[in-house]
């Protein structure tokens, strides 16, 4: 009797497992360039591509930091993040990461805002609100460097402020004169009288990239399911991009549906898109990722990460975290590649081979 029930139980447990398709999760967080994931899941585009490759893809919304943690802890297989986080979070945690889609670059989304006419020249000694150790700090330091104030960076007092409260904090507390943040918070803060935009990411184009990354060990799974996952992601992504950039009356409907992903209005979403350089076509993305400037820009980002200890403790030199570019060039020690830019999926999308 007991044997029979045990058999029955094991049958119950194994049956659904045997029939299961390989399942993957892609994590995203609210940002103009990542909201399309919301649309892909809702409209069924993601499911269509997943079905085509015989896999299941779950699209999961996170807050930004938890999405990175989930990726590093191997709870999710793919994640939307910036080039900086793709370099430092997985690198510090020793996780080999591959960027399969370069979706856009920030072209004004991130900005340094001040009140009372404060400029880079008189920032030293003042307090600056920002989320420390993120692209905000990178933007601030680049701004200081480009205004000849590099040696004064450490004299600006950084106040680490949570992104959920930074707009309210800056608007309410007028004793603080400078803040670095990103859209839509920037648009909100700029509505306050007397606040000006003194530096933004359009002055450093192509340095803050928004990527979709997949763990390299997932891509290299022997059963090939990881490859299918990446192909399905790229397929769904570029189908959505096409809908977003199409000329016609249907486009606004698509954009409004995407804006819903962050409870935004169509108007506000369009305003955010205007300061985002979307790489709508795979060709545009390929051109950027294979350009020689790409390497220089990544080196700037890597230097920032290294100087702030973001590449992990015990990382004695920049070479210990290596980047592999689409042309096969490796920056750093070849046995310590942590971030790879892979063009195969974007290329296949461009050639219609997905």
């Amino acid at each position: 009797m007991r044997l029979r029930s045990a058999l029955l139980f094991s049958l119950l447990v194994t049956l659904p497992l045997g029939a299961q398709k390989p399942a993957f999760t892609v994590g995203w967080s609210v940002y103009v360039g990542w909201n399309p994931y919301y649309y892909m899941a809702k409209s069924g585009i993601m499911k269509k591509w997943a079905d085509k490759y015989g896999i299941t893809i779950k699209v999961q919304r996170f807050d930004y930091a938890p999405s990175l943690e989930a990726f590093v802890a191997k709870n999710i297989e793919a994640c939307a993040m910036t080039n900086m986080e793709a370099l430092d979070m997985p690198a510090a945690a020793g996780i080999d990461t591959t960027a399969i889609i370069v979706g856009d670059y920030s072209n004004g989304n991130d900005a340094v805002l001040t009140r009372n006419g404060v400029t880079f020249k008189n920032l030293p000694g003042k307090k600056l609100l920002l989320v420390e150790k993120t692209v905000s700090q990178y933007l601030f330091e680049r701004g200081m460097a480009m205004n000849g104030m590099e040696s004064q960076i450490k004299r600006v007092q950084l106040v680490n402020t949570s992104d959920s409260d930074i707009a309210a904090a800056f608007i309410a507390d007028t004793s603080h004169e400078a803040v670095v943040t990103w859209k839509p918070l920037v648009s909100q803060i700029l509505k306050t009288p007397g606040v000006t935009n003194i530096f933004n990411s359009s002055q450093i184009p192509g340095e803050i990239l928004d990527l979709t990354v997949v763990r390299t060990d997932v891509l290299n799974r022997p059963d090939g399911s990881g490859q299918k996952f990446a192909k399905a992601l790229a397929g769904a992504w570029y189908e959505t991009m096409q809908l977003m950039s199409a000329k016609g009356s249907g486009t606004d409907k698509v954009l409004a549906a995407i804006a819903e992903g962050s409870q935004d209005s169509l108007q506000s979403y369009k305003e955010q898109l205007s300061t985002t350089h979307m790489l709508f076509t795979p060709q545009a993305a390929l051109q950027l990722v294979t350009s020689p400037e790409m390497k220089q820009k990544m080196t700037l980002v890597k230097t920032f990460c290294f100087n702030h200890g973001l590449l992990g403790e015990g990382t004695k030199s920049m070479d210990e975290v290596a980047i592999r570019y689409p042309d096969g060039a490796v920056e750093g020690k070849p046995d310590r590649i942590r971030l790879r830019f892979e063009k195969a999926y974007m290329q296949a999308a461009g050639e219609g081979k997905l």
């Binding site: 930091a65 943690e69 590093v72 802890a73 430092d88 979070m89 510090a92 945690a93 020793g94 996780i95 307090k127 609100l129 420390e132 150790k133 993120t134 450490k154 007092q157 950084l158 106040v159 680490n160 402020t161 949570s162 409260d165 930074i166 309210a168 904090a169 309410a172 507390d173 004793s175 603080h176 702030h308 200890g309 973001l310 992990g312 403790e313 015990g314």
Partner: protein
């Protein structure tokens, strides 16, 4: 079955083993996970090993914050000096200062509660409003706090005050009300004046329970302090944890969390001992 018996006590040794068992289980599980994860990925930072934790503790205790200008004579400093310039000590001092301000502001709350409980005019004036105020979730009105108190030190202390004082006021109020009215009447017949009754009859006997109530509210107090430091700050224990979370510095976060637990335990223990010493007749603590 002695396990399910109310009247059977474990022997000394069994008691010792039982009380430490969950600690041992937790620690073993942790290191087992750490070892398994490191076999898979030697650079894993999510569950640091003992060696990584050791390096993390040393770095936190002995080295200043990496973004600070290093002191010119860093190499020649003694171990004690290095500890006092280290980030752990500086963060602890910053958080402790806010903690003490918050704690100190609870004492006026006790007096208010006492007066509300004894003096009908005070009670009528405050009670309804504080009952309402007690139900406001402080964290949900942050923008209002920022407008009223800025985002520097004051707003962090006020967050604690708004979060914890209503509880203390209402608790003191209830304790005051539970003093038998006969005692108050007797105080008056023996010639006491109003404030004699308030401070020497009522406060005196509810004081140990009030201290106990403050002690039990230390954790909410710490919670509000941490929330404040995570929202906006330049130093403090929670500031460091928030910052390190951004690049998975678990090897420092875990020691920090244990350090906070130890400090809280010590404050709790001190208050308990103090209460026992001050009020030897009080048995509930």
């Amino acid at each position: 079955m002695s396990v399910l018996s109310i009247s059977v006590r474990p022997s000394r040794i069994t008691g010792w083993v039982l009380s430490w068992f969950l600690f041992a289980a937790g620690i073993s599980l942790y290191f087992y996970t750490a070892q398994r994860r490191h076999k898979e990925n030697p650079d894993d930072r999510v569950v640091p090993t003992l060696a990584q934790l050791g390096a993390g503790i040393y770095q936190a205790a002995m080295n200043p914050d990496a973004d600070e200008e290093p002191a010119a004579d860093a190499a020649s400093q003694s171990a004690l000096d290095r500890f006092r310039n280290g980030m752990l000590w500086k963060d602890t001092v910053a958080s402790a200062r806010r903690f003490i301000y918050g704690l100190a502001l609870l004492f006026p709350a006790v007096l208010l509660g006492l007066h509300m409980g004894l003096f009908p005019y005070f009670g009528t004036f405050f009670l309804r409003f504080i009952l309402f105020f007690d139900k406001i979730i402080a964290l949900s009105v942050l923008p209002i706090l920022f407008i009223a108190f800025g985002i520097d030190e004051l707003s962090k202390v006020m967050l604690i005050v708004i979060g914890v004082t209503p509880t203390i006021i209402l608790d003191t109020f209830n304790l005051t009300r539970s003093v038998p009215p006969e005692q108050i009447v007797k105080g008056f017949t023996l010639g006491a004046r109003d404030f004699d009754v308030a401070y020497r009859v009522v406060l005196k006997q509810i004081w140990p329970r009030v201290l106990n109530s403050i002690r039990l509210n230390l954790k909410p107090l710490m919670l509000f302090l941490f929330a404040g430091e995570m929202i906006a700050s330049t130093d403090g224990l929670a500031y460091r944890i928030a910052l390190l979370r951004r690049h998975m510095g678990m090897n420092i976060i875990i020691p920090y969390v244990l350090w906070v637990a130890l400090l809280l335990f010590l404050v709790d223990l001190t208050m308990r001992l103090l209460n026992k010493r001050l009020h030897p007749w009080f048995r509930e603590a």
